[in-house]
Point group: C3
Chain length 471, copies 3
Amino acid sequence: MLSTKMHPDRLLPGDPSTRGIARELYRRVADAPIVSPHGHVPASLLAEDRPFASPTELLLTGDHYVTRVLHGAGISLGGVQAPAGEPAVDPREAWRVLAANWHLFRASSVQYWFEYQLSELFGIDDRLTADTADAVYDRIAELLTDDAYRPRALFERFGVDVLATTDDPAADLADHLALAADPTFTGRVLPTFRADRAMDPSAPGWLPALERLAAASEISCGTYAGLLEALRARRAWFRAAGGTATDTGVPDAWAVPLPAGEAERIHAAGLRGEATAEEGTAYRRDILYRLIEMSSEDGMVMQLHPGIHRNHHVPTLRRFGADTGHDLPVPMTYTEPLRRALNDFGTGTQLRLVLFTVDETSFSRELAPMAGFYPSVYVGAPWWFLDTPDAMERYRRAITDSAGFAKTSGFIDDTRAFCSIPARHDMARRVDAGYLASLVVTHRLTEEDAAEIADDLVRRVPYETFRIPRE
Amino acid sequence: MLSTKMHPDRLLPGDPSTRGIARELYRRVADAPIVSPHGHVPASLLAEDRPFASPTELLLTGDHYVTRVLHGAGISLGGVQAPAGEPAVDPREAWRVLAANWHLFRASSVQYWFEYQLSELFGIDDRLTADTADAVYDRIAELLTDDAYRPRALFERFGVDVLATTDDPAADLADHLALAADPTFTGRVLPTFRADRAMDPSAPGWLPALERLAAASEISCGTYAGLLEALRARRAWFRAAGGTATDTGVPDAWAVPLPAGEAERIHAAGLRGEATAEEGTAYRRDILYRLIEMSSEDGMVMQLHPGIHRNHHVPTLRRFGADTGHDLPVPMTYTEPLRRALNDFGTGTQLRLVLFTVDETSFSRELAPMAGFYPSVYVGAPWWFLDTPDAMERYRRAITDSAGFAKTSGFIDDTRAFCSIPARHDMARRVDAGYLASLVVTHRLTEEDAAEIADDLVRRVPYETFRIPRE
Amino acid sequence: MLSTKMHPDRLLPGDPSTRGIARELYRRVADAPIVSPHGHVPASLLAEDRPFASPTELLLTGDHYVTRVLHGAGISLGGVQAPAGEPAVDPREAWRVLAANWHLFRASSVQYWFEYQLSELFGIDDRLTADTADAVYDRIAELLTDDAYRPRALFERFGVDVLATTDDPAADLADHLALAADPTFTGRVLPTFRADRAMDPSAPGWLPALERLAAASEISCGTYAGLLEALRARRAWFRAAGGTATDTGVPDAWAVPLPAGEAERIHAAGLRGEATAEEGTAYRRDILYRLIEMSSEDGMVMQLHPGIHRNHHVPTLRRFGADTGHDLPVPMTYTEPLRRALNDFGTGTQLRLVLFTVDETSFSRELAPMAGFYPSVYVGAPWWFLDTPDAMERYRRAITDSAGFAKTSGFIDDTRAFCSIPARHDMARRVDAGYLASLVVTHRLTEEDAAEIADDLVRRVPYETFRIPRE
């Protein structure tokens, strides 16, 4: 039977002398605590600490990186997960579909993360196939009933020091506060302020988002000025709950202030349900400018990731909801769109702008050059479609010369699949060790410097970039 | 004298351990039959089976990859081939020009393909130089008089199982039918439906294309509706002749249906010779949408390759015609342009859309993410300016994680130079073996999986992607 | 104490067999004379031959590649250099700031160049740290008082054969002429004609530029026709002073002639200070077309580098002037913008257009394909943000197949930091040796060809591309 047993040298360079150096560098950080400053695991998972329902929910339907591969091969999402409002798919049947199609994942990062979880978390080294599907399923299901496999126990076992969540500005953050107040829970779970839904008055969710904001802040959002005040109030609430960062995902990076009267006019049109798409775009670009301004005032680290067409396939959105694998990248540029905001706030000491991209051409062309000059600008790690060993290495080779290591974000797992967190961080640590080793072997870096940088990337950079206190 | 003798390990990775694995993977597929699902060799070449006229026609003027390198170095095309309507250039003189400038080709793919043909096909291992020019010419010319060097004999010797041609929608496909009916010819030569000339009513060739279409289909193209009906009829004719695929080359990937009245209006303007460039573009984008719709109905595999400015240098077009080396790429995007069509047809089981690019930035940014979600979308192999060992490896590294191997096209030679077909396929097999070996040596893939994938890429993927029966 | 002693095999490939070949290739060219056909060292430096003022001026404030890294890390430019009109920063204090932050440069090209200078030029192998700062400073300061460290002596020691400067069209070129007439100076210092400031009538510096031009040429620039005539006259002056090339940096590559009347109309509006931004752009694109036309007439090699947003951060421009580290790239395309000019002049024998980019996506997509066909088009070396070992290798892998080696510029140091010139050329020679060795080891190139190409890239290509006589 094929084994998925992870090789101790996996992902390290093939060349023996480089591998030897990489192995030493990796060893330094292999067991370092995990800082995850950006992700989508809900705080309730840890606050409630309920056992995971099934292997399928944990490893398959809970990770749209997995379901989209099946979908791309012609297996309807409905084959493994139920559309909204329909009876659930039998989890064992869904698991069998996955197992029978496991060959689709060969050589992908998803295979790596998945098999890492099987092997390291569940001690299962059998390859997933139609034949092994049931045995693997049963073994995982059995382990999931054990308290050692409940979220908090795993959080400790994974060695997570800090986990950031992503939250609506109106969120009460009760779970975050409860965890912080719980003496039996030693990790940190920090909220991240994400106000995307309040940015575009021509989009369907805008009015409800404003209503939630007004209710949570007790500040009327009936005017544009009121909305800005409410956002500021909620940011303060997030900071009080330990939040150090915000997150913004927008179609493009343009940040352009509107004259106050024009912003109020579009705001009013939005309240009447009459804002056009053009007005919505102008308003959204104004709000982006205001969010940068707010970060320059309150020092919350601003993560910006433009360049995704969300929910590309509307029929799938309607049946299965958002985050179902069809957010798709478009070409992206930053130099011109952020010029105004960087001229106004880019050299202050408060603003910190971590720029992510899904268009890797912007790494060497714009992001590294911008971070190389602007003290406020940092280059986010390669993520989403770029979270692969090869893309991670391309990222380092594209940005290090202009932006060094200190102007980067540290690894970002960006996941909603809780158990994939250690697998993802392990991959990044290995790839970085290999990259650094390649610099050592070509005498571009001394071994001492490489060791220091390897440590920094895991033990220092993510804390400093995200202004998270090291406790 | 310098020898071009091909090294048995050429193109395999330099590192000894990786090379060993690559060598084994390559051996599995080195002699596998060739499937060429997209190319520009005419069926008449095989139907008529005439001896090749001269080494120059075969290897130089028949391959604009070769002539453009000379042109770029300042050697007028007229130095090796005659402009339309002028007396032919002496083939031996043209050959001498090539030989004297052979250093220009150093390290290029063209050198590889050319020397592969000299060595493997003609047994000539001398380097082409001014000194060897005549001897090489004479030896090839002598061999070309041998029946073993006529097209059909070479077809067999090359081990071609399937060769697809590119054909006008009005083509009678007589040569294809004759070959299929010929019991002495065991290969398959399949037509590909290419209707580019019928797409833009503001372009010069549109009216004649419609006239040909109407004549072939016996359906009037006097209306837009008639044109669509004629196209459908001709697609059926192609399918009946064994065709499984269509091909479309357009300036951009926008596919946007027009209201029927508007399409008819522009069609009528085109018939009067009055369609504007803007109308031509809108109509062309409508037709692209209709072609995707047709593929979603009849299941013909649709190849789409936008992003080329054709015939960039008009004086050369006028003197020497099209396909003379100055089709030039422009930046290209797919996510937005294909959204409407993929929402309408992208998850059906009939549509298959193989997307090619000459802007390699779209591999990781758009094509792989799209193919990763849409069951209808496949990523075409790196071709045209990207058909080099390095670009092929970049392609694999950019797309495998999102789109795997099953969502790719298999190697595409895209050539009109018949004898370069085995050279090109051999290059791709070697590069893929090297890529897979690099995954094995870094423990991202087991040796068993790598072997299976190597086989699949040659023996399964091209058939399945292009819906060609394996006989 | 950490040593920066340069390893003899630095930057060569890590794999032992490839390294051995690379080492031999590098040895062939390590000591070859330096041709620097594009840079920003002023001719006065050599004409006056004054000792360098201090280590700080020589190595820190004289190189904005260095100061921008400090700035990006939050160290105000004012910490190391004084704003215009303010008293100078103490050079030793500035040096200490650099030394205390030297870790920011780890693994960057700047580190490589800087430590190369310390080691090879000043014999200092101590790592720069807060502790060593003063000793290193003192040692360099002491050496700078030695005649052997004056510009001309270093010019000889560096083995510079040709150094091109960048000059205003109105420059009298007195320093160039003096150097050429000086029998004790054996190198060549060639002027480069750069007329950027005369191109945009809506930009602030346009009128003064025209006034200078008129004064120098004794031709009135009161009309557009007069401006063109003055430019032609100054180009002749540059040629008479040994200049073989021009240089143009513009926001985009569009070259589109205006009707003569329209150009005159905008010119007149510009003289009245009334040209709009749109008019400025149209005029600038016309002038670009005219400059290409002039090169097609007088044979001056035209360097074109579009795609930079200059002086992105206006407050820094105001305080510290231009060239202070915040010129930032934008996405760039060439195929469409240059079509008209290449149709008109692209296949003539006089025009030579060396295209540079800071958007590396254009290498494989446009520049190599264009150079592959158009005899007039050459691909400039990777420069500016792309002058790193990894980017240099990506450049070779992106362009060699389409454009070969003969259609490239040879290495361009593009520096205003005089003493970094040998460091930069040494880096390029090593990277090219490694690239060629990788082709040899994978049997894509014979050792003989690789040796010849290595020689050509240093000893032949830069002369031929820039039409500089080999003396």
